[in-house]
Symmetry: C2
Amino acid sequence: MKKIDREKRGSSAGPGGLGTVETKSFRLPGPHRLRSGVTLAEVVVAYETYGELSPGKDNAVLVCHALSGDAHAAGFHPGESRPGWWDRMIGPGRAFDTDKYFVISANVLGGCRGSTGPASPDPATGKPYGLSFPLVTIADMVDVQKKLVNFLGVEKLLAVAGGSMGGMQVLKWGVAYPDSVAALIPIATAARHTALQIAFNEVGRQAVMSDPDWRGGDYYGQKAPARGLALARMVGHITYLSERSMERKFGRLRRPKTNGSGFAEEFEVEGYLRFQGDRFVRRFDANSYLYITRAIDNFDIGSGPALVKALSRLSDRRLLVIAFSSDWLYPPVQSKEIARAAKLNRADVTYCEITSDAGHDAFLLEAEEQRRVISRFLEVTRKRTARAGGSSGGEEAEGGKR
Amino acid sequence: MKKIDREKRGSSAGPGGLGTVETKSFRLPGPHRLRSGVTLAEVVVAYETYGELSPGKDNAVLVCHALSGDAHAAGFHPGESRPGWWDRMIGPGRAFDTDKYFVISANVLGGCRGSTGPASPDPATGKPYGLSFPLVTIADMVDVQKKLVNFLGVEKLLAVAGGSMGGMQVLKWGVAYPDSVAALIPIATAARHTALQIAFNEVGRQAVMSDPDWRGGDYYGQKAPARGLALARMVGHITYLSERSMERKFGRLRRPKTNGSGFAEEFEVEGYLRFQGDRFVRRFDANSYLYITRAIDNFDIGSGPALVKALSRLSDRRLLVIAFSSDWLYPPVQSKEIARAAKLNRADVTYCEITSDAGHDAFLLEAEEQRRVISRFLEVTRKRTARAGGSSGGEEAEGGKR
């Protein structure tokens, strides 16, 4: 039976993990212009790195986090018992092998875990932005990542990888900076949200905005809209599990109720969702939740012929598109559409559908299956990139297979 | 393209409808004892009837409503432009043909549309029960329906039919009163909730209980927890549509935002969900929402061998089990399990899976397909019941096909 509890995701406590890591901070050297035209006077990016950058600076891999993630992707912060969110995947011998690769992870623009977002002070007023923070897009997040990557001395990434919203950033790298990356690994993601995917996010936003403590986003220094944000997270968690994993984990088990309100007894699944909701509010800013889900819903690199066109600059890039059989939030059909569009652009595409009961959460949990495909994919990518002397003619050198 | 908007569900405005109808009220002659042992001193049931009871009193059909339904199943109330919730299905020439059958519809115990529930005054205090209202079950709802049916002069129903929670009441009739009904028509329902189904209901309950206006259920005479209840309804609506119908109806269409909070623009699907949520709170009591969803989650007539045993008294009953291909809230597999368990008890079972894009809402919308199978099913049931002289030997008389 697979473990699907995020509580148990830490696998690096034992041998092979990264040990203690720290989050660093990078202040962009000047104002940052968003795609909307609005300029942010100050942008700070929280980031972590694992492993060493090679002398040729050709082994850097950027990993991009999902809605609720942050820069702390792997290893442990001092005094904490839970490792980073992708610790199963990053470390010596893992999918992103830190003995071979220099792994970069950054908190997204609009986030609340060290990067500039709605909770940050507006330099013009000294007070938190709140809803006066400009709308940001996935492209804006990627633009900021690009500046960070350059700051770290990397001109061309070996790969960009990420699941869920992280996968959208991966795709945006392919659209916006195809010459700055050799390979893309979009996982459990979509080229754009369907109405159903928007609907789930919207319920979460409404939950936050319906909380009287939200006060139009101007709650800093006061009580945060914890109830609304917890509710939003509960809705999210339903979509992260598969029906089967939820049934196996909880079924119709009951237990005495742990809080006072409502009826005396509850089902296990109710307690689980409440626990997840309550824990989330301790580490996440409600306005960031609004901005980031809005960025996700607005993300749209097209469908059908438009998607093929959007990916037209991927013709000599390598893509590993990963989906999970029981993921009903980002079902495999959406990953297949990405793979197909890239293929029509003569990219070197591998589509891999991993059989798993873990639902959308599988991208965080199915470490062994992902390790096998990703480690091999990165090895081949590096070999080809090296052979091609860093140019984009790798495929030609191998015999002009295009 | 099928219409999936409940706004448009009214089809009886034209010829063939029932015209004006009225809700009546039945006060149970004495105290009513719940299955839990708790006694309610006073129980009132709101109900409507359509068509005429035959002299032989053998043409009565009870229809049972879902979570948000009420006694007003068909026809129009004076001055209202929307007909009852199953108007497409009830009327002259419709699935439940009022030229042939005497159709009974009642608001459930625990409801808020005329039947006794948490918003009703507690005779002991004169004040609304609120959370001091006892927990009720699907069985309790059915017990009250049985008393109403007897009051109306019906000893044996020709059929009991209903979708979603209505289908659970149908199944409970088969378990509790198999001798009082000739045929059962459970539609788009389940013998018990899975963890996923419980989870969706729990998010709705948490939305209500997180609203500060809920005040532990003691909000009568004050501001109702409208924001929480609207949120609960939004979550529900996501599960009532299919992914495909939602995509076809809304896709990624946008429009200017209709309320002030949050961002300026919104997707159509967001406006739709908010509209549904806001409308719902005008007609529904938040505590009833808690009690009824709890009754649904607690409903459990078993699975596997236990379900077969629970349905053991259906051996000479007719069952028409209906499911819809795109219903992901109550997927066809759950209906098949019901059909199989009844079949193993030698019931006369027809399983009908209707191909539809309308999701769970299909039970309200796919009137023509349902009319075909239900009208024929009822005709045959009545013929056999008549032949058997009202006894349960109808199948034997036809040649002992069992």
